[in-house]
Amino acid sequence: MPDRDKNIPDVPESRTLSRKRTGLSLVWIIPIVAAVIGAWVAVVKVLEEGPTITIRLRSAEGLEAGKTKIHYNGVDVGSVTSIRLTEDHKGVIATVAMVPKTEAFLVEDTKFWVVSPRISGANVTGLGTLISGAYIGMEIGKSANKKRAFEALAIPPVVTGDLPGRFFILKSADLGSLDNGTPIYFRHLQVGQIASYELDKDGRGVTLKVFVNAPYDQYVTPGTRFWHASGIDLSLTATGVSLQTQSVLSMMVGGLAFETPAIGPALPPADPETVFTLYANRTEAFRPPPKNPQTYLLVFNQSVRGLEPGAPVEFRGIPVGQVEDVRAEADTKNFTFSILVTISVDPLRLGVKVSGPGAGSAEQTAVHRQMVDALVSHGLRAQLRTGNLVTGALYVALDLFPEAPPFKVDWSTQPVRIATVPGKFEGIDATVASIVKKLDQVPYQEIGEDLRKTLADVDQTLGSARRTMDHADTLIAPDAALDQELTNTLREMRQAAQGLRLLSDYLERHPEALLRGKKEDSK
């Protein structure tokens, strides 16, 4: 240092530093802090990473990777990260990154569906998606089994989440005009809707799942009847025309209605998922159900045209059952055809009180057989009657025909056969038919031809008769020759008769004159 000092002598000396610098600068705190923050962020990010799931959809229409969200009750719970085709190219698989802490939602019965604007009958849903684009809706399942690969529903469920109310199952023969979201009415109040429907596995009916909102669900009891309230129910009865509708909306889009019969004991509300029958209309819904239906076989030899399965079986006007089946049976030996009609009859509706233990017991069966035997021995027979003259619809009437040929019920066959008697109109029919047949045999044509010929002859005859008469007329005219000659002839005949009288007088007196001849007048 001394050499430095002498080169530049007039440089002032700096003041000494109070503190000593350490080897390692404090500045190293900065990268450490940065690293700590970075690591913390990374850890948080990893911890915040929600589960990744896949949803299989039929089509990715409206969905966009990176944009489409998963909504649950309006909360964003995930987003679609990628969309790709399935290996068989029949669908698409959307990979969804869920937000953290959603693991508990992803269970076996969790449902996903695409929400897009839908207008179906009474419902307009998903209008918000017109602006925001489609999103994937979600309903959290109740299962405990975790699941990561889901299948999206084809149709969004109508009832989602924890809406208070209850689901019920309805069995129907066909769907009619019903659809998801079709309203359900209770005393004309809309109280629920159809949540879903599906065809039964055997294809013989439709099972509907309906949702009745609280608090109306308490009015559904085990005795409640559901029926189609679609359109207009117009019925023509003896009391006049009755028109039943629910509302204009249900006339347009269909609907269901339910009601609990007022009579009978008050029942507790039905359990969720209780199965009900869906009736075609209110009248049918309130028809009392058969308590203990018995099946019988009727054999008819006449035409059963107009007799449909479901046709009523009545006992003196009281419906006691219905026709179950109509089929023909051929006897190849005698070549005769008979028509077998199976009916189901509720004997209780005949007014027969079956007391004793519960239905189906041996004792009750015996009582029932005894009763049927007694009825048949008193002339209970089945008869086909015309129920409707316009349509020709037939029904089966059970009635007592004391003059009917005796019949013994054979309980060994199943179903048990009950004898039939020809129908009222059936007898008339036969008579009329035989008359018509005879009339048919009359040779109208020949008669006609003969008649025509005869008439021509008559015409001729009359002509000649007329001529004859004319002729006769001329003959018998007062100045006619015949008249004069006739007068002369008559005169001569009188003279002849006079002569004969003389002769007879003479002969009386002189009988010998016949032998000897007339004596010369000797006197």
Partner: protein
């Protein structure tokens, strides 16, 4: 050019960076206070390499979350959407919009990393005592220092957008956590550039002849 390069350090002299007074350290000491303005004096910036390294490492650490985390959250009727810087580049990338995309890519992704790489290069060469390409290196250093302040533009744009686009409930833009890290990268690289003493580049040049080679 004079063949003999005279440096203040070689002469045992220090310049005050505040008032420019040339002074001599007290006897036996390397550092002191300026006798005129009391500014701290040193032959070179104290702990320059160490400090620069520290800032650079911190910047490099922050660079990762700055690019991984979203910088902007756009809330529209369709839902919230978070975009990272690279996501924005991808979003802007289209047959017509690619120049804009390129600008974002260069300004927000490549320049920060470029600054870090450049400073690391300078540090390594200085520590190795390299005497080559001194002019290029000082030019690189000046460029890094010049660009430094402009990198903040990204952060400003983001904050302005967030402040302006508040059309609730139709649309709203909010800055996200990535932006903090991005700002940290910018600040830390600026600090790193500031801590670096460019005179160190020339200190290795013991002999003036080589420095002009």
């Amino acid at each position: 050019m004079s063949p003999a390069v005279l440096t203040a350090m070689q002469q045992g002299l220090q310049t005050c960076e505040a008032c420019g007074l040339l002074s001599r350290p007290a006897h036996g000491a390397d550092e002191g206070h300026c006798p005129r303005c009391a500014e701290e004096l040193a032959f070179r910036k104290p702990g320059s390499l160490q400090r620069t390294w520290a800032f650079l490492i911190a910047a490099a650490v922050c660079y990762i979350p700055a690019n991984m985390l979203p910088v902007l959250t756009t809330t529209t009727a369709a839902g919230a959407e978070s975009d990272t810087i690279l996501g924005g580049v991808v979003l802007l990338w289209s047959p017509t919009g690619w120049p804009l995309s390129l600008i974002v890519l260069i300004a927000s992704v490549m320049i920060p990393i470029g600054k870090i790489v450049a400073l690391v290069f300078l540090l390594v060469t200085v520590q190795r005592g390299s005497i080559k390409n001194n002019e290029q290196r000082i030019r690189l250093y000046r460029t890094v220092v010049f660009i430094g302040r402009w990198s903040m533009v990204d952060v400003f744009v983001d904050t302005f957008t967030a402040a302006l686009v508040q059309l609730q409930p139709l649309m709203a833009v909010e800055p996200s956590s990535g932006l903090v890290f991005f700002a940290a990268v910018v600040v830390l690289t600026m600090l790193a550039a500031e801590s670096f003493d460019p005179r160190l580049i020339w200190d290795a040049t013991r002999s003036p002849e080589i420095s002009h080679a």
